[in-house]
Symmetry: C2
Subunit: 516 residues, 2 copies
């Protein structure tokens, strides 16, 4: 066997059995090895933004990493923006980036580049395989790092390490060390704050937004009066029967206002919230300057266990009553009037299937969903985390591969959707159960708002031509059909509602272009 | 005025009046400043691969740099693959990458990343503006570097440097230093080689492939018997009345065979040719081991002047007869039979308009064009240089903006075309005169060949699913129309010929999906 065979064996031994890929010549021995492993599911993306975004969506929903196969520096580069998002989501992922044979690098062949320099900003672990014998230990290290760091491992595989011979090995799953335990001092301080009578907020992120952890947070909140907020994270279990935390608003003024009252903030799963961007004469952080910040636990900790420990230390009993979202909400009235972002969101909320996965890159369009979500059927929400646009279609693709029995609904802005529209083809090829709703406002609407924020009232030709997406309008139905995905355009709210119901009733990918 | 206004003024003062852009919030002050400068042409790309690829195509044809506007690390990352190609083409380019306000970086906001680490592998110069007062000197340095290094300058512009106030300045175009002169020793050695009677090859690259330099090389070849070869470069002036150099083949075996006879190689504009990839038991370089290599001049030199100097030193007279390509070639017979890569290429060759720009990312399909080119109307050939696929559509876009009066013909493979198909929208919006021919073979055909090279005869499911582009087939006409580009599909050679003639007869973008 060769190094590439060993790599496949190590992956499969550790349960990594999905590989999102876009290969090239330097990875041909790896492709040949994958071809000898029918138990590995190889999913082709027609650009690497699809590959890494899908691996992110897969891991968020499968709770285990996928592998990716990327072609040299440029292949990695194309995938970096969605790796950035995955990095911010703390998604475990194992990227395998092919490189030239080690002895060929000195010749600076046309495709040579500094892969490590490209990989480091978007990876938590970067390593280079030193030869065929190094494939096993290095892959095991990459896998272990992805899980323990909850993050991105990028392993560079020179072609001669892939094609070099190695002996067979007696493989076993990698043993993972215990997760670090939060310090008793931090727990004590947080518990003391909860009992102090000070106005306290618990800011949850990452795996603290799964149903079990949220329930514990809900009990703490009920017993102590602490408020619950959430930061944008990989995945939130939402809907009826679950505890809702209020998202910290994106807008800096609204975020400051929302957090103004608090004297103590306990951060679980992340650091204190900061402004997405800086603006002249506005603060960079959103808590009040005098607010005490207790960073109780990071992504590396077991957050459900951390919250249990906090509840126990704060004297919150297991049987304290708390308030999950109601299963029976006031009925959401059917939307009427114009087709717009709000009416679409309301129609979606009324139609949401049980146990759906809402994949969100709606940017300016689906804000109302966060308001309605607590009363809807239980569902998962997986959003854009790092602000690098072009994740929605790939993310939905990966989530659908992880959860073939669940309906994936992608709320997709048109401008960001164009970044990685190629993912629709993968949805068609794999016959994935994804309904994509394009909010076709024909603009980078968020940027038009930001332009107004910097004081520009009337846009000239250059601003219009950089912020509008019209002239020509994109025809999303034509684009979707060009990649084998059924599609329909709607201009009215009734048309949207009917089309959505029909799309949800069938299996396989469907795209709705909602012209708002 | 603010730093962003100053930036625009420095660009315009130096003749940089085209900006390919995809902005974000951190660049809003720059967008507002551009909006105050109607003399700057801002061209939106719907993904950054389009932005950087178009800037490459523009500069190759305009012989001056364009600016790009990219949004933070992820925006730059999306453009890196085509920056890699531009780096290999030694294209002058001035990237402006927005970043958070300098004081905001410490908070590690979601879109924060190490932009320098991302930029360095694909840039020849990287700098960060230190504040509004630093905008002018840093931009001038970036511009000077792009021209003198013939390469990629990437300047990071923090938001507070853009919005900070600066006083007006008396701007003047940047003074460029003299280009370095090749050493008399190297010229002497090369001239001696030419007169030595040894079998000598002159290997041309970069600006040595423009008509004037080629003519000098042709005279040297006629007078001394030296062979002329070319390496893949930014732009080759080809066709009747010009001197042709023979391309070093991509295939390593063919390259070694083509260069086997030579005892001395004189490299002008680049280093000695190397294998695109390494293969087990095959060499990394293509000249014979004993071949003496004289690296006479690099991209930084004036190559036309270098060749003049070489001719003079070697005693080649200005009036020595040489053999340009004939204006009247044997007639190319109209293709008949099946629609395939060769028949398409022949039909194209018969129809090539005067002074066309052939933009090539045909990968496995248009090899015959290089054979036919010497006898065709004079034209420019701008190919994929760095092996990072997805350049064709953007490159054609930029070339058409640089040369609005010339017909651009893009020879485009389907697999690589899908990487940056978004560029078609920019072609439609700017009404660019580009005819794109998609060689729709529904496969990564080059990789299928490479798989066979590594000994795999029968492809299993995983290999097929990573190397085939079928199931579903891409419908390129639908994709093009979805972005406002007129398109037609052809299945026969007569259909292709007729459609091509019609497409060439009209103005504006047109896409032909040739199913081969």
């Amino acid at each position: 066997m060769n190094g590439a065979d060993m790599l496949c064996d190590v992956l499969l031994t550790n349960g990594v059995d999905v590989c999102f890929a876009n290969p090239g010549t330097s990875e041909m021995h790896f492709v040949a090895a994958l071809d000898r492993k029918p138990q590995m599911r190889c999913v082709l993306g027609l650009s690497e933004g699809v590959v890494t975004g899908a691996a992110d969506g897969y891991a968020r929903m499968a709770d285990k990493p996928a592998a990716t196969l990327l072609h040299l520096g440029p292949g990695l580069a194309n995938g970096l923006a969605n790796l950035h998002n995955a990095r911010r989501a703390r998604t475990p992922m194992l990227n395998i980036v092919g490189d030239h044979a080690s002895y060929h690098l000195q010749h600076d062949a046309p495709l040579t580049s500094d892969i490590e320099s490209l990989a480091r900003p978007m990876s938590h672990w970067v390593g280079r395989v030193a030869g065929a014998q190094d494939v096993r230990p290095r892959t095991e290290e990459a896998y272990r790092s992805a899980l323990m760091l909850r993050g991105i491992s990028t392993m560079i595989l020179p072609a001669d390490a892939a094609w070099g011979e190695v002996g067979p090995a007696d493989l076993a799953p990698v043993t993972l060390p215990e997760r670090p335990v939060v310090s008793p001092e931090a727990v004590g301080a947080a518990a003391a704050a909860l009992r102090s009578g000070k106005r306290t907020v618990i800011i949850l992120a990452g795996r603290a937004l799964r149903a079990g952890a949220l329930e514990t947070a809900g009990r703490i909140s009920s017993a102590t009066g602490a408020a619950l907020f959430s930061q944008t994270s990989d995945r939130t279990e939402r809907g009826a029967g679950r505890v809702a935390a209020r998202p910290v608003p994106y807008n800096i003024d609204l975020a400051v206002e929302a957090l103004r009252e608090f004297e103590v903030a306990i951060c679980v799963g992340g650091k204190q919230p900061v402004g997405f961007f800086a603006y002249p004469h506005k603060p960079s952080t959103t808590l009040q300057p005098g607010c005490a910040v207790i960073e109780l636990a990071g992504h590396e900790h077991d957050l459900a266990e951390t919250l249990n420990l906090l509840a126990e230390t704060a004297g919150v009993r297991n049987d304290v009553p708390f308030t999950p979202n109601r299963f029976t909400q006031p009925e959401i009235v059917a939307p009427t009037g114009a087709l717009n972002a709000d009416s679409i969101t309301i129609a979606l909320a009324r139609t949401l299937p049980e146990n759906a996965i809402i994949c969100e890159e709606s940017i300016t369009s689906a804000g109302k969903m966060a308001v309605l979500a607590p009363g809807l059927s239980p569902h998962d929400h997986i959003p854009l985390t790092g602000g690098a646009i072009g994740i929605g279609i790939p993310l939905a693709t990966g989530a659908a591969i992880a959860c073939p029995d669940r309906k994936v609904i992608a709320l997709q802005a048109d401008g960001s959707g164009m970044y990685t529209l190629q993912g629709l083809w993968t949805q068609a090829r794999e016959n994935l159960d994804v309904v994509t709703v394009i909010f076709a406002n024909r603009a980078y609407a968020i940027l038009q708002g930001e332009m107004r924020n910097v004081g520009v009232k009337d846009f000239g030709r250059n601003a219009r031509r950089m912020l509008d997406l019209d002239n020509p309008d994109l025809d999303w139905c034509s684009l979707a059909r060009g990649m084998g995905v059924e599609a329909a355009r709607v201009d009215t709210i009734d048309g949207f509602t009917d089309t959505l119901k029909a799309a949800l009733a069938q299996k396989g990918p469907f795209l709705i272009e909602a012209r708002i």
